[in-house]
Structure formats: C-alpha cells, structure tokens
C-alpha cells in the first residue's frame, strides 16, 4: 500500500512519500503554533534531523511567495527546529 503511486492535486506520490511530506509539514506548522503561543520549540532532535533531510530539498525547490521565503539568520542558541524553520524562511514575528 505504502509504495503505491497516488495521483494528488499537485503530482504523483507514494503513500510513504506523502506521509513524509506531511510529517515535515506538520512539524513546521507545530513550530508555527508553538511560536505563536510563545511555547518552547526544542523538538526531538532525531525527528527534526530526519525530516530536514526531506524538507530542505523541498523548500529549495519551492522558494516562491506564499510557500517558502529565503532562509533567514538564526541566533547562536537556536534549537535544531528553530534552524529548520529559519532555513525554510520562517520569521519570528
């Protein structure tokens, strides 16, 4: 099942790739919500590292307004998740 190609609104993906894509998506949006609530964002480092492997490439291929802005600077003490968010153009405001 997980390997079967699925037609989706923006292309064809396998179930596993879809899960991975939305894993990264949820992780980033979890960060969005956490930041907007002023809560800590030191998410599980291993999870962040695995999903960055997917998310960095994806963001680089979709750096257009409305999707991903250019990468922004991070503070020296930023968590791995903060760095991921900054790489895909999220600003702390």
């Amino acid at each position: 099942m997980l390997g079967r190609p699925l037609p989706l609104p923006w292309g064809t993906l396998t179930g596993a790739a879809l899960a991975q894509m939305f894993a990264a998506d949820h992780l980033v949006h979890a960060w969005d919500v956490a930041r907007s609530l002023g809560l800590p964002t030191d998410f599980d480092h291993a999870l962040v590292a695995r999903l960055r492997a997917f998310g960095d490439d994806y963001a680089d291929q979709h750096r257009v307004p409305g999707m991903f802005d250019p990468a922004v600077e991070v503070a020296a003490d930023a968590t791995p998740m903060d760095r991921f968010a900054a790489f895909i153009g999220r600003r702390d405001s």
Binding site: M1, L13, G15, Q20, D32, R35, S36, L37, R50
Partner: protein, 384 residues
C-alpha cells in the same frame, strides 16, 4: 585461579503475565540478560494471573468501554518502558487467565515453545491491539511458531494437567517472599507486594534469582543493572565475561522480531541502519516494530520497508506534537496570526487536519482531490 564461570548455574524464576504492560516493557532488558548470560542460568517462567475477572462487581462492565481507560494506562507505562502500546485498541479482555493457561499448555511442548507463545501473546496485545482470549485468537497469534504442535496445544488447553500446572503457578505467585512484603514506596512500577481478589502476590514482572550466594529478588520495573547485580549476588562470578552483544543480524537470527527499544537495548544505541535484507517494518500506531521475512510471512504482514514505516512513524510523531500545541490555543484567539505568513491559527490548523486526513487515505492507497482544500474544522477545532 580462574573461575570457569560457564559451569556456574543460577536459577531464575520469572513471575509474569502475557497481558502485563510492565512485563512487556521489561522484555528488552530480559532479552539482553538472556543473550549475555543465558548459558549460565536455568530460567523458569511462572504464569501468575494478573486479572481473574475485570467485570467482577461491575454490572455495566463492557469490553469496548473498558478498552479506552486500559489503553490510557498502557500508554503511560509505555512512556516509561519505550515499548509499544495497543493503538488502536478496540476491546479489553475480561480475564488474563485464559492467555496464562494457554502459555502453560504450550510449555508442555518445552520451554522454548512456551516462551515463543508467551512472546506472541505479548506482541498480539501490545503491537497488534488484540488481547488474546479465545482459542481462535491463541491460534492466530501463534501462527508459524517453529516446533509448536497446534493440535496437541488445543487438546492440552482443556486438559486437567494444564489446569493443574496453571493453578500451581497461580498459587506460587501468591506466596510472595519477605523482600517484596517489606518493600514500600510509591515509585512508578514499584514491585512491592500486590493484593488482588484478597490474595497477596508478586507484582509483574518479578524475577527471583537463586544460587550459591542466596536469593535475590528484582521486583517490578527496574533498571537493567539490577538484574545483573541480582544474578551476581545469587551466583558470585557468574556475570564475568558476558557473551559479546549481538550484531543486528545475530539479533534477528535469535529473535526474529524486535521493537525499536529492543534493537537499541540489545544492539546498542544509534540510528537503525544495517537491518538485514528484506526486513519488514510494521507501523503500530506511534512507532515501528521490525520482523524478519519469515516472521512477517507467518503473520501475513505486507512487505513494508523500514524506510516507509519510518515515514509513517515520523508523521504520527509530528501530528502528535502539532496536536499538543493546537490543544493549547485559547478558544478566543483562533484568528491571531502565526509565523506562517499566509495563515492565521484557524487556517493553519484547518490545513493540518486536511493533510492528516489525506495521509490517512493515502496510506490505504486512496487519493483525495479537492476535498483537501475544504473547511475541515467545525465548532470544535481541537477535536478535529
């Protein structure tokens, strides 16, 4: 003079129950202990009987309604043990006695077969969400065990010999030693003496080690080192020069099925790579369990690769994380902005719920189209 420790033998008595989450949680430690010192111990498994009748005194007891609180409890113990818990879980067994008796009946075919059936019952309960209670469920969860004569097992299940053996284990479990009688404390998983149905008994799991050094008890949820110390205390010298830890390949040859925690505890920490070819991964709801091809085949599991199963586990973890924050959004602030420049909180969560629904379709091999963009949130966005 060097001690030939391979000639030292300690006795280990394990008081347990197939449907005990702490016993399941202790499996990684006991596997490591058995790997390192197994040749130097005689191991006896005592089926202690955790719950005789969950419905006693409750006229409204219902196996479906009982599942939710049980799953919540098991989820909490999983947070300590790192072992899977049933997700989803639809029904709770009324009694753990039938499963205990079935293991006892399987032990009549030898300790190896007995141990294999016990392990399968634990996996059925905590990995696949089926608490085995009937002969049909026993047979289904034991499918493919090498050396198990199923016909003989089913006959033994109803035999007086198996019933007497289970009764004997049950009674032995209800003669707890002074060590656990005098234990006090309120630590999580503490193995102080329990009382059920008016009887004192050992907590599960409790291991008693006996040898020339005397008797040492390891009750309840304890660190791995406690087992090694107890073994050494019961049989001085026996823990010197343990067998070198297994490679991942050796671990699968020995056990066939390993949880993530078991792989880490037995083979050492680090990212799980170097899995044997054709290893099948099963996503149990919040993580992954690994099966050798033969074990996966015996259970009829689809051939999902570890990489694909990891994608699902990461999705589940991210979803859980997102949900934990969404649940904290004050009810009157859903229109506030977020760092995601396009969307306020409500729009953002709407998008997340939509994508979660898409993944749940997608992993079943179905697709959804425009459905993705609709409003997924009703009056209760958190519940969505």
């Amino acid at each position: 003079m060097a001690i030939d420790h391979n000639h030292l033998i300690a006795d280990v008595i394990e008081y347990t129950d197939p449907i005990c989450s702490w016993a399941w949680g202790t499996e990684p430690k006991l596997r490591l202990l058995q790997w390192r010192y197994g040749a130097r111990v005689r191991w006896r498994v005592v089926l202690g009987g955790l719950v005789h009748d969950a419905s006693r005194g409750r006229d409204d007891w219902d196996p479906v309604q009982a599942a939710e609180p049980m799953q919540k409890y098991w989820r909490r113990s999983s947070a300590h043990t790192g072992q899977p818990y049933p997700m989803p879980m639809h029904r709770m067994a009324r009694s753990t006695d039938p499963a205990g008796l079935a293991v006892k009946a399987a032990q009549r075919q030898g300790p190896v077969v007995g141990a294999a059936v016990l392990r399968r019952f634990r996996e059925s309960t905590f990995v696949f969400g089926v608490t085995p209670s009937s002969p049909e469920e026993f047979v289904a969860s034991a499918r493919g065990i090498v050396g198990l004569d199923v016909d003989r097992w089913l006959v033994d299940l109803t035999s007086e010999e198996a019933a007497a053996a289970y009764r004997s284990d049950w009674e032995e479990t209800r003669r707890p030693n002074d060590h656990v009688r005098h234990l006090v404390g309120d630590d999580v998983g503490i193995g102080s003496m329990k009382q059920t149905d008016g009887h004192d008994r050992y907590a599960f799991p409790t291991l008693v080690f006996r040898g020339p050094g005397g008797e040492v008890t390891v009750p309840g949820w304890m660190p791995y080192e406690a087992y090694v110390d107890a073994l050494e205390g019961a049989c001085p010298g026996v823990t010197a020069d343990p067998r070198p830890d297994p490679t991942i390949t050796e671990a699968f040859e020995r056990w066939g099925v390993l949880t993530e925690r078991e792989l880490t505890d037995v083979c050492g920490p680090g990212p799980v790579d170097g899995l044997p070819d054709a290893t099948v991964a099963h996503f149990w709801g919040a993580g992954v369990v690994y099966f050798s091809p033969a074990e996966a085949n015996a259970r009829g599991l689809p051939p999902v690769s570890p990489e694909d199963a990891r994608c699902l586990a990461d999705f589940a973890e991210s979803l859980e994380l997102a949900h934990s924050f969404v649940a904290g959004i004050p009810a009157d602030s859903w229109r506030q902005s977020t760092p995601c420049s396009e969307w306020n909180r409500r729009a953002l969560v709407n998008h997340m719920v939509g994508s979660a629904r898409m993944v749940s379709y997608g992993v079943r091999g179905q697709s959804i189209g425009p459905e993705f963009y609709r409003n997924h949130l009703g009056d209760d966005p958190v519940a969505s």
